[in-house]
């Protein structure tokens, strides 16, 4: 049990995929324009990550070592196709705003990385815990980034159409650079520097 909790915590804090390992940057920066997108992306990545870890962990004894990477990629591609089609059918709007980044989950380094580095060597329970931890870690990171971008770029936070929080001073003249691609670099750069300055991350 302690083991599982450790694996869960690792992904969220010590080995946060975005802030510490700097993996999966492309979707993190690209879709973090609003919290809705962040939640949608997290859900899609979580599903693929957990299912991929389950399958890879189950077949770890029977996969020949030399072809394991192609096997993992095919498993992940199949899972991503499922997510892509499901989202297109049931939540077309969200699917449209995430666009090309849903099929691109295939090449998200977090997923292949966890399959190769963890699930192919560990038991089912540990692999699931690892996937959930990593998924939450990714979700926390992308949500924090999109919180700042949405707040500074539009002046208010709305989650699925419900206004949650607004900054009246910003609301009239929001700094639209934060919604533009450059804003993502600025927010993540400053966040990383802050996390290092406060000692949450050790500077490397």
């Amino acid at each position: 049990m302690v083991h599982i909790l450790k694996n869960l915590k690792k992904g969220i804090i010590n080995e946060n995929p975005v802030f510490i390992l700097l993996l999966g940057l492309c979707p993190t920066l690209a879709v973090s324009t609003s919290i809705d997108n962040a939640f949608g992306m997290t859900a899609a990545v979580m599903f693929v990550l957990i299912s991929a870890n389950i399958i890879v962990s189950l077949i770890r004894g029977v996969t020949p070592d030399r072809v394991r990477i192609p096997v993992f990629i095919v498993i992940i591609a199949a899972l991503v196709t499922i997510v892509d089609l499901t989202m297109k059918a049931f939540i077309p709007e969200l699917s449209k705003s995430l666009g090309i980044f849903i099929p691109l989950i295939v090449v998200n380094c977090i997923i292949l990385g966890r399959a190769e580095a963890f699930a192919s060597k560990n038991t089912l329970a540990d692999s699931v815990a690892d996937a959930i931890g990593m998924g939450i870690g990714f979700g926390v990171a992308i949500t924090i980034i999109s919180f700042f971008r949405q707040l500074l770029g539009t002046g208010e936070i709305t989650i699925f159409g419900t206004p949650v929080f607004s900054a009246p001073g910003l609301f009239d003249n929001p700094m639209s650079i934060f919604i533009l691609p450059m804003g993502a670099f600025l927010v993540l750069g400053c966040l990383l520097a802050t996390l290092r300055y406060t000692g949450v991350i050790k500077s490397g």
Binding site: L23, C26, A30, T81, D84, P103, V106, M182, F185, L192
Partner: protein, 191 residues
């Protein structure tokens, strides 16, 4: 001809893969520490993008569309990329050792480079014909290489600069990317 040129400018500068579309960020931050390795990586990416775009275009329109299985594109495209990268690696090693020494270690990395998979999706989504596909792949690759080379030149100088401790390394690279992105916004008026 006009159309092809505007696609090239669009892919290389206006909608630059790294700065405007956020594709290929891992090599952008990972391999941009030295100018020479950045250029090698860029050349490898151009080569793979051209090859995979043509092959995946042919497969999409000759195989997936006639059989009505376009939903298989994600799986097919990634397999095309993985196998082409392997073939390219073997061919280059057999024919040109110098080129292999320069590009060799970057080739396997390209399999999981989302810029390569991204360009194949964009070609299909935009319904480009074969000539347009070749030009768009070339443009995407050239734009990627250009930004990678600029970035590595800046980072080589940043190593000598007095950057605040918390910003050293990756955080300051993000800020540089932001400034580069603002500079590239100016290309928006070209097309």
């Amino acid at each position: 001809m006009d159309n092809l040129f505007s696609i090239f400018i669009m892919m290389a500068l206006v909608n630059n893969f790294v700065l405007a579309k956020f594709l290929g960020l891992c090599p952008f931050f990972g391999v941009s520490k030295k100018l020479s390795s950045a250029v090698s990586m860029g050349l490898a990416v151009i080569l793979v993008m051209l090859a995979t775009s043509v092959v995946s275009w042919l497969l999409f329109y000759q195989l997936l569309v006639p059989f009505g299985i376009t939903y298989m594109r994600t799986a097919i495209f990634i397999l095309v990329i993985a196998s082409l990268v392997q073939i390219l690696e073997i061919t280059i090693r057999r024919t040109n050792v110098n080129l292999y020494n320069a590009l060799g270690i970057y080739l396997p990395l390209i399999t999981t480079n989302c810029a390569v998979l991204g360009v194949t999706f964009i070609n299909v989504d935009q319904a480009f014909n074969l000539a347009e596909t070749v030009v768009s792949a070339l443009g995407a690759g050239v734009g990627f290489t250009l930004v990678l080379a600029i970035m590595s030149g800046i980072r080589e100088r940043l190593d000598l600069a007095d950057v605040p401790k918390a910003f050293k390394g990756i955080p300051v690279a993000f800020l540089v990317a932001m400034i580069l992105g603002i500079a590239f916004l100016a290309f928006g008026g070209m097309v």
